[in-house]
């Protein structure tokens, strides 16, 4: 091999290598930033999803006491004996949205429930009229003598 007497830092090779290095560095930093954003978004989504499922679970547990009323309620659950208790649905309105929300511990999020079945329609909560993000989960429960769809919407 025949080596030149010139310093290597100013060779053509050097500039090419530097160029590649910076290009790659820029790409990596771009992806890194994107990834951080995505991870944060995913974490947020997961948290909201957990809140969403937590909010929907209210239809599938009995609460405490099992047959609570507006005065005695310590934990809200709308089900008894595998079915949604119609009396408890009526009690939701008696409790009111803000008190319900404090039981649910949903943080900055609001909630809206839509229950629909054959000839049945029930809504409770706050509608997302000026929402930034809306998250929705649909589940199936039993109310009286029929299966009903329960839509849970969490929004901020």
């Amino acid at each position: 091999m025949c080596l030149s007497n010139k310093g290597q830092a100013i060779t053509y090779d050097f500039f090419v290598a530097m160029g590649i290095f910076f290009v790659v560095l820029v790409i990596i930093f771009s992806y890194w930033a994107y990834s951080l954003k995505e991870i944060e978004e995913t974490r947020t989504k997961q948290e909201v999803f957990n809140l969403l499922t937590k909010a929907s679970e209210v239809w599938f547990k009995e609460g405490y006491p099992v047959y609570w009323d507006a005065e005695s309620v310590a934990e809200i659950g709308l089900m008894n004996d595998g079915r949604i208790n119609v009396t408890k649905l009526e009690l939701l309105n008696a409790i009111g949205y803000q008190k319900f929300l404090s039981f649910m511990n949903l943080g900055r999020y609001n909630v809206l429930y839509n229950l629909t079945g054959d000839g049945i329609s029930f809504e409770f909560g706050r509608r997302p009229l000026s929402a930034t993000n809306i998250y929705r989960l649909e589940r199936i429960g039993v109310l009286s003598n029929q299966a009903v769809k329960i839509e849970t919407i969490v929004w901020d």
Binding site: Y12, G82, I140
Partner: protein
Amino acid sequence: MGLKSGKGFVFSTDVLIGLSIALLLLSMIPLTFEKRYAETSLQLLSYEANDLMNVFTTLTVADMSNTPTIKNLIEKGVIQGKDLNKTILDLIGSFWYAGNESVAQNITKEVFNGLSNKCFSLETENETIYEKPCPKKDTVAVAFRSLSGYEMGKPISGHIARAWATKVLKNTTEIIPFYPEGSGWTADRVEITKKFSLPTGITIYDAVLYVSVHFGTSKTQAEFQNLFVNGVQKKNDVVWLYLQEESSGSEVTTAAYGYINVKNELVAGSNTIYLAFGSPNYNAHVHPGMRLIVTYSLLQDMFTANRSFTKRYYFDDVVGRTGAWSMVSFYVPENAMNVTAKLKLNGKNVDDTRVYTGGRWRNSTDVKVYVNSGTAFYQDGDNEYCYSYSDRGYYCNRNIVGEMNPMLELDITNALVNGTNVVSVYLNCYGDTHWGDSTAEIYSDPTSDPENSSYIEVSYELPEPPFYYGEIDINKDVLFGNLDCWRPLWNASNPKNCTFNISESEKKVVESFVHIAQGFSSMIKAYVNSRLTFVSPSTRAVPESIYVKPSILSVGRNNISLVDVQPGGSISSTNYILPWSSFEHTYIVKSMVDYGHVFNTSEEAVNDAIERLKQQIGKEGINATDIQVDSKSIYGIEWLWGPSMFKISVW
């Protein structure tokens, strides 16, 4: 490498490695997100699958009574009022396991389709009850539920009962054999006395004595002298079915087979049959196939059979003029353990003979015993010499030095075989030669003097009792003529091939035998279901019955083949198997019924259990005289099917 060469610089090794690492890092970032999104999607599907399972196990038939299939089933009365509280999954399971698969599919489809737009399937035990037709995906969520179901149209609360008989009246068949036995050569008459006991308290429905003898000089000179049944002379009532006259030089004799109905003469308890006949120029004896077949009803308490058995096979009392012999057959069942056997022989009036040979007196053989062999198991003398023969050349002259009453007790355990055993006893006779002077007797009186009688006593243990409490043993005997035998049905032939059927209700066979009926005989080979079951250990050793291992029998068609052969192995040309041979088997019938349907009252449940018991044992001719029942009230007992695993898949 010279960089001044002008070749492409971007392909240098450093650059390539750097680019590879950078791309690898970049490619890993999106993968992380894809996985997380998939997890969330699976969670959503999982909620849906579990919600659906809850709906199927919460909604009742009444809740879904407006769906087309359920509505139709209610209108038709298939689903009754008491079924309305059952869950939808119970209903689907009931129809599915009852074989109404299309009904189960329709109900599933109708209930599900109004609930979700997702793809879905309901499965149980690797069978798909219903699957919504849509393409498969990689992400599938499942929900499981283990469940037992209820029978359609039956209440889930009420009363159930079971019943079992503690005492029954059953019809059964008992076979009382006359062993091949008789006198010595050029016999005056032989006298055979059989004493036996039938159970007390029985009602005898039928009793047929089959007579199989070798007698007389010809068909017309039979010398059938006496046949007393409990003192009643019946010799003239014998219906002779088969007479075969054979001659060899001056010897003319007849083999005869007949029957006589002795129902009116037999009694419960002790009975005696006395038989006397002669054969002046041959050997008077009983041939295989002589037996008494008694059918009676018996009141029986329930009990568990023993595992340990000691059985005595008594000889008949045989008084022969010029010798007496008898060949007793018995069996050692398959799986028998700790088997022992002894022979007790009480001989009377046996000539004690000797000969002078080689310059000294030698004790000659007058008593011989054979056990499953052509070689003597026991003999009292050390030789069988004769000075000379007279009386048509067959009479053996010896010195008679006295008369003896040999009383032998022999342990024959080591000579036993599993299955059929044959023990032959000869007093003053052997084969076609005799040397007796007057009478000789094999003494036996089982009913009045059992301990001094001649007998074989066999002891053994079985791994488990032949039947348990709640089981009844039934004995049946069918003549070959009534089986499906190779033609001609009711004719004598050699060989004799028959097939017979064992029904499902008779499948638990605990004992089975082939009873051989023959005129003249030599050696017998018996095959059952093509397996060699018995072969005579020596010539003239044809037993009264052959034990057939129950394990070789099967439900459905079975076959028996009997063939009489000469010592050289050829099939005998004049020795026939008679159609009055028979197949006997003992099988077990259950005398209890388990809990049945649910009834509104205890009385209804008990009556149902009793009726079921009567029908079950009545088919076998058994009447339950004492019945015990056990009834109890129930609620919510799940039955008919299950537990089964149900799986809902959503994708």
